[in-house]
Symmetry: C2
Subunit: 540 residues, 2 copies
């Protein structure tokens, strides 16, 4: 019942204001910087090297320097990174909006690739980074870390930054890459957090097969229950709004209830110790598929843009925050490490991140290619390269986990732990600024050499209806030349031949027959002309 602790009473100064001057200054600075980020980001729109994340990060760094100079290197309290702020207020809207705006068809078509990368990839990366750190750190001279610390480092650095990816890849231009890299990012967040929690809670003196199985069971349990919860809340919102029809009286109430239920799904998941990220992501997907079609036209435009705006502000805020926090003088003082050691540790970690990601992206893609028969569905080498590269950025999740592991109550005490925190910050800054700024031109260059996108990127139906039409026209989910009507036998052979598309087709039939009549959706609400994922209103 610590609500008061989250928003503590702060009335100290006998000024005209009731508010604590420090809070007011901090908020004013942050809001001003956010405005500056938006304006600068807008002016740099055409620039191929910069993006909003990098702008915010650099602006945060500059502000950090200014604050340090103003306080003469003493006070750095405006800079303190806070995990609660991040996990309660900033992450949920970003992930929800990602689910709300994601191209559902692309996402589910590539679901197997996404799961392979997000789960097995993260585990491979986790093992490699942990082992690598364990062996290489001793050579540098870092010896005080325990087994648990090394495993935690593996989990911490396996968490990719899906936020930065969203800004670098374009859903319209490269839908396949976007859905794979971003989808992987969401699953990866969940996986690495589960791994991290496992590392923190497992007793390392008694490791056996049962512990490992237990871990696997925990992960599967978390994955499925979190997803189910998200879907349940989404369906509840769709059914409730369809039945009660709030929009009859007030658009604002309709928007409010959608917003609150989305947030509630995250909080309930956290309350049940599930993965709030997965829950809110699937809640977003279900809400965009059903709920969004049940509200009035104004609510549709409002929710679409309001969620995107909140998510955009939260993203920018995080980068600003990380940038400002990077200069927290106490942490740098606490590490007592020479510049050489710092650089050695950071470069080792960076190298491990690069290798750890390469170690799963290329093998998984090639294994996947072996299972796929059609040439166009295969993941080419240059796409593999982009998938590898676009997932190298590390962001706020990494920093939050690092603080959680290496900060003892009341500030980091051990020298080695402080060194780990500063090294994580260096990795995050370097990967975001350097890798991030190279990514856009890199993708441009790779795509320019092969200006025509491969076929799996071209078969981007604008809606599931188009898919169904092409299905009926061609008698199959893809452009094979068979013209037979769909019978039970042919659909069975289709399921074997084109499993994803066939599952899609049957899902669509089920959706039309059972789900939409109950939960609403495109067909049952004649007003709906577009979906939140389509950019057709010409403004997004």
């Amino acid at each position: 019942m610590a609500f008061s602790e989250t928003f503590p009473l702060q009335i100290t100064l006998p000024t005209s204001s009731f508010l604590d001057i420090g809070t007011v200054v901090a908020i004013t600075v942050f809001v001003s910087l956010l405005c500056a980020c938006i304006v600068i980001g807008h002016l740099l729109e055409e620039n191929r090297w910069a993006n909003e994340s990098i702008t915010a990060l650099l602006l945060g760094l500059v502000s950090g320097v200014v604050v340090l100079l103003f306080s003469k290197g003493q006070s750095s309290r405006i800079l303190v990174f806070n995990e609660d702020l991040f996990f309660i207020y900033l992450l949920p809207p970003i992930i929800f909006n990602a689910g709300f705006q994601v191209k559902k068809k692309q996402f589910f078509e590539n679901f197997s690739v996404i799961l392979l990368h997000g789960i097995f990839g993260t585990i491979i990366s986790f093992c490699l980074i942990s082992l690598g750190a364990m062996f290489l750190f001793r050579r540098i001279g870092v010896t005080a870390l325990k087994l648990q610390d090394y495993l935690a480092i593996g989990a911490i650095l396996s968490a990719t930054d899906s936020v930065c990816t969203l800004q670098v890849l374009n859903q319209e231009e490269t839908p396949f890459l976007y859905s794979v890299v971003f989808g992987e990012g969401v699953v990866n967040d969940a996986t690495s957090i589960v791994l991290f929690n496992a590392v923190q809670s497992i007793d390392f003196r008694n490791i056996d097969v049962i512990t490992a199985l237990n871990l696997l069971w925990t992960f599967l349990y978390l994955f499925f229950t979190s997803t189910a919860l998200g879907i349940a809340v989404g369906l509840l919102s769709a059914y409730g709004i369809k039945t009660l029809y709030f929009g009859r009286h007030s658009t604002d109430r309709e928007v409010a209830i959608v917003l609150l239920l989305a947030y509630l799904s995250y909080m309930i998941a956290e309350l049940l110790n599930l993965s709030g990220i997965l829950t809110v992501f699937f809640c977003g997907i279900v809400m965009s598929h059903y709920t969004w079609h049940n509200v009035t036209a104004s609510s549709r435009i409002t929710t679409k843009h309001a969620f995107a705006t909140i998510s955009f502000i939260a993203e920018t805020f995080i980068f600003l925050y990380v940038g400002m926090d990077a200069l927290d003088i106490d942490k740098w003082k606490g590490s007592h490490a020479s510049v050489g050691t710092s650089i050695a540790v950071s470069s080792t970690l960076l190298a491990l991140v690069l290798i750890g990601r390469a170690a799963f992206v290329f093998p998984i893609a090639n294994i996947y290619n072996c299972t796929v028969k059609r040439e166009g569905d295969k993941i080419e080498v240059r796409k593999q390269f982009i998938i590898w590269w676009a997932g190298l950025m590390r962001g706020a999740v990494t920093i939050a986990l690092s603080y959680n592991q290496f900060t003892e109550t009341g500030g980091s005490s051990s020298t080695e732990h402080s060194l780990m925190i500063t090294s994580t910050i260096i990795v995050v800054l370097f990967s975001t600024v350097v890798f991030g700024s190279i990514t856009k031109p890199l993708i441009g260059a790779v795509m320019l050499r092969h200006p025509k996108l491969p076929s799996s990127d071209e078969t981007d139906f604008t809606s599931l209806e188009d898919l169904q039409l092409s299905f009926i026209d061609k008698g199959g989910p893809s452009n094979n030349s068979s013209n037979h009507p769909i019978t039970r036998r042919s659909s069975l052979s289709m399921l074997i031949k084109y499993p994803t598309s066939t599952v899609h087709y049957f899902w669509r039939k089920f959706d039309d027959k059972f789900m939409r009549p109950v939960f609403g959706g495109r067909v049952f609400v004649p007003l709906a002309t577009s979906s939140p994922t389509s950019p057709r209103d010409g403004t997004s």
Copy 2:
């Protein structure tokens, strides 16, 4: 630099979640209750006794009881009312939205009445309640309060609850009453907070004429600088958005910058020790007049509904919060007062609120009526009655100020001070629930007896353009029969005859010639078809 104190680190439990379980529980409870409020409020929409404020307040009370029972009367930490939360996060969006959605013409036409009520009325009410409490409390047996406490009580109970008014009166049905009562509420908030600050900071051992003049000067300074700041930020946003045209690339950035600048105006005002409420209110007015017309069509719909939604959630949250907080067991224990004393003090305060408001509403209205020549412009007795009644509700500002005055650091210590807090809570609960639920039927009854609204409520031009047209058609701001063209001489005589409308006319000319070409607005953006105050998109 106390950002970390506002969002303190709270990682204690080794669960799958990084978040403090108390915070998660509190947020989940509040979000669930907010959803319940919206659903119940929606179902009770047709009910004439209930409204969302009352629903939220009662639901908050019930939840408070449940929490008390669960914690066996021990823990009541989920209930603690926090001024920072209120003044930083909840009040600004409510007041901004009020300015953004207020009918500007009505507001400025009744500006003199609003200022009279908001400034002089509040001062009269303040004096009466202070004096009344000073004399009557001694008879009840409450003697330990100092002069400063009595004056604080006057300021605390002079702050009307503009939020509840917004829900009870209807801008479309009774525009005159709405603009007067609501406009008064905004000015009243500012006045009572200024009075309260003055009471807290003045040294009462040396009161003389200079102190009084100083107080007046402070008030005027605050009023004008706060207003000017709000207008400046609003114009800056209009000019910036018109020049940079964020919507070219992204609706979301446009919405984000409008949102952030609005909030920034409040925070800058607080930073400069001005009245953030006045600033953000005028910022909202300017933004709806200029900025809103410079953004894309999607942004226009999104801002209109998103601001209303945020405001709606904040309002509901406040009532929920006040309801839950009312049962905070520590305060009731601390007062040590008998039920009789509690009731006596509360009824005294309630009576003083009733008398204090009557003492300025009726005299001011009658003085105003003497200065007005046209019969239709006069404020009739039944309207005076409604103005008096609609301003009797006391709300979150009252509670926040009461806590500020009567809570010593670490909980209220003195018995008399605790009694004041509990009595304030009783006044707030009683006035909101009882007065609030009677208001709707009361207004209905008063209006039913005189089903036709008086003329000053009928001349509700939907836009300033209509006003100008009627001006040009009729040669004057109202339906007099003169048909002369507007010349310098006749406009001078008009200024004397119909000062408000004439000022309006010249403002409109100035606006068209100098302001709109620079800052944008309806005329200069052909896409704009309605204004945020008009309900024409059929959904609000």
